[in-house]
């Protein structure tokens, strides 16, 4: 395995990604890549082929109030490379990356469970963590209120 420094990783990423992408180094060992939803798959392919990324740590999804943000955290050669993409609230879908990174399986199911973001192309999007008969919506959305009133802080 070649051991690139942060800067070199950043270079490689910058050379290979599309025009709608920005690469920044937020602090040592943390690289943030922002891509449009459409080029997510392409970026993932570049990670897998050019950087031989294999370790997907996790996927974080979050509700900003206006859009959904999805962050894919990879651990590549000593740095956390985060791919950030987003989708509008009225169309909460992204392409599934399970075919490139099988370890995304559980994380994409979880994302569907708690925020209702659907990974298109995921082979089986069953419930993962919420109760089987859960029907009270998506708890991690910002406008979500539990049925029994407010949560006690």
């Amino acid at each position: 395995m070649t051991n690139n420094t942060d800067e070199q990783l950043k270079e490689i990423l910058q050379q290979n990604v599309q025009t709608d992408t920005t690469v920044t180094l937020t602090k040592p060992h943390r690289i943030m890549v922002t891509v449009a939803r459409e080029s997510l798959k392409k970026t993932m392919n570049i990670l897998a082929t050019k950087l031989s990324a294999q370790h997907l740590s996790t996927i974080t999804a979050r509700d900003t109030g206006t859009i959904f943000e999805i962050l894919y955290h990879f651990f590549i050669q000593g740095s956390i490379v985060t791919i950030r993409t987003s989708c509008p609230r009225d169309d909460p879908t992204v392409e599934s990356i399970v075919d490139i990174f099988p370890s995304a399986t559980l994380h994409e199911r979880e994302m569907n469970d708690i925020l209702g973001i659907i990974a298109i192309g995921h082979p089986d999007l069953r419930r993962l963590i919420l109760p089987e008969d859960w029907n009270q919506g998506y708890p991690l959305r910002k406008d979500w209120k539990p049925s029994g009133g407010d949560m006690v802080g």
Partner: protein
């Protein structure tokens, strides 16, 4: 003969808001496992949502209670994240004390695992031995922090309690004893027939697959994947602590056993190094209550592997989004991979092999195919464990 088995195994809560106890649906062909599917979420306590409703100080105590075994790792990640956003430098002494706690935690967690693994294969003597030694580590933890499990040591900007000369002496003394014990366990691990018979060649996880499924921690290292966050992305005081990353290439439960035993030595050495080189000075930097807008990602090497947290703040005194991914979650996919093609009798030790905090037990339900969802017979974890032990006893007569 085809059996359809539905095996329910809830495994202690490691993940906060999510996961565990888990439920494995195991499809059997005779005695062989053909497929394994996981259903988790029995201890989903909604922590990620709760975190958004509490302030940064309250969250310290909530995040500590994500897991009762690696409680310090979780707060370590949390404070690292908050400190990154606040951009404060914490004192060296505090970094050393944090590292000390991370390593003590690894010691007690690995000893605990060896006991549980021994129990699963019917080797209860090992359980009694390792848990007895684990008490010594617990004593140190209690001596320093005042609590055995949730130490409440970490705080934003440093640690809450200092280490006195007395405590240092006691820690070093205990390490001498523990090193002797670790040497004994090493002996046991490679010579004891029970362990060899039940662990060698069981629960194979090939390196390529371990990489592909993003396995972490000792599970990955036992498959020859050379990964350790402590070395690859040093946090706390690991950057100036010498240690080795242990890997084996046996790819089975035995390998996981060996990796953990050898890591005991590494932890003991790290603790010695920390205690002998403890810098003097402050243990806490001042931190404001409000955290400016920003985001941070932090990961640490928990006893079970990489533990990664993500924090998004919005300028108030409460986080906007907090995400936790615990090592067990990362290793879940690997379990189903390991289970395929093994015998039902090996299920307990394979599942225990990734160290999923087997604190609890539950029912294991085996369904017979053709009878329309009618339970063939009801098995609980305890029965499955006994079944495994007996099965081996009948087969080889080696055990018990």
């Amino acid at each position: 003969m085809i059996w359809l088995a539905n095996v329910k195994i809830p495994i202690g809560p490691q993940h906060p808001a999510l996961k565990e106890p888990e439920n494995f649906t195991i499809t059997l062909d005779g005695e062989k496992v053909v497929d394994a599917d996981i259903r988790i979420g029995y201890t989903h306590r909604g922590i990620e949502k709760l975190i958004e409703t509490r302030n940064y100080i309250q969250n310290l105590y909530l995040i500590e209670r994500i897991c009762g075994i690696c409680s310090f790792t979780h707060t370590q990640n949390y404070v690292q994240n908050v400190e990154t956003i606040l951009n404060i430098q914490i004192p060296r002494r505090a970094e050393y004390i944090r590292t000390l706690f991370l390593e003590l935690e690894r010691l007690h967690s690995h000893l605990l695992w060896m006991g549980v693994a021994g129990h699963e294969i019917g080797f209860d003597t090992l359980f009694m031995y390792t848990w007895q030694d684990r008490e010594l580590v617990q004593d140190i933890l209690e001596f320093i922090s005042g609590n055995r499990v949730n130490y409440a040591m970490n705080t934003i900007g440093g640690v809450r309690r200092d280490i006195s000369e007395d405590q240092k002496k006691k820690i070093l003394e205990t390490m001498i004893y523990l090193e002797k014990r670790a040497a004994y366990y090493k002996e046991v691990a490679v010579n004891e027939k029970t362990i060899l018979a039940r662990c060698q060649g069981v629960g194979i996880l090939k390196p390529e697959i371990a990489l592909k499924l993003s396995a972490v921690g000792p599970t990955a290292r036992a498959s020859g994947v050379d990964v350790d966050i402590r070395r690859d992305d040093p946090h706390a005081a690991y950057a100036d602590t010498p240690f080795q990353v242990i890997t084996t290439d046996t790819c089975d439960v035995f390998g996981r056993f060996v990796v953990r035993v050898l890591e005991l030595f590494e932890s003991i050495n790290i603790i010695r190094h920390l205690m002998n080189n403890l810098p003097t000075g402050e243990i806490k930097a001042k931190a404001p209550r409000k955290v400016p807008e920003g985001e941070a990602i932090s990961h640490t090497e928990a006893p079970r592997g990489e533990d990664i947290h993500y924090l998004r703040s919005n300028g108030t005194d409460k986080p906007e989004r907090y995400k936790v991914r615990t090592p067990t979650m990362a290793n879940l996919l690997s379990i189903s991979e390991m289970l395929k093609g093994t015998y039902l009798a090996d299920v307990p030790i394979i599942v225990a092999g990734i160290d999923p905090c087997m604190g609890c037990m539950d029912r294991v339900l085996v369904l017979k195919e053709g009878k329309e969802n009618q339970p063939g017979y009801l098995l609980d974890w305890e029965h499955l464990r006994r079944y495994g032990i007996q099965w081996y006893a009948e087969k080889g007569g080696r055990i018990q």
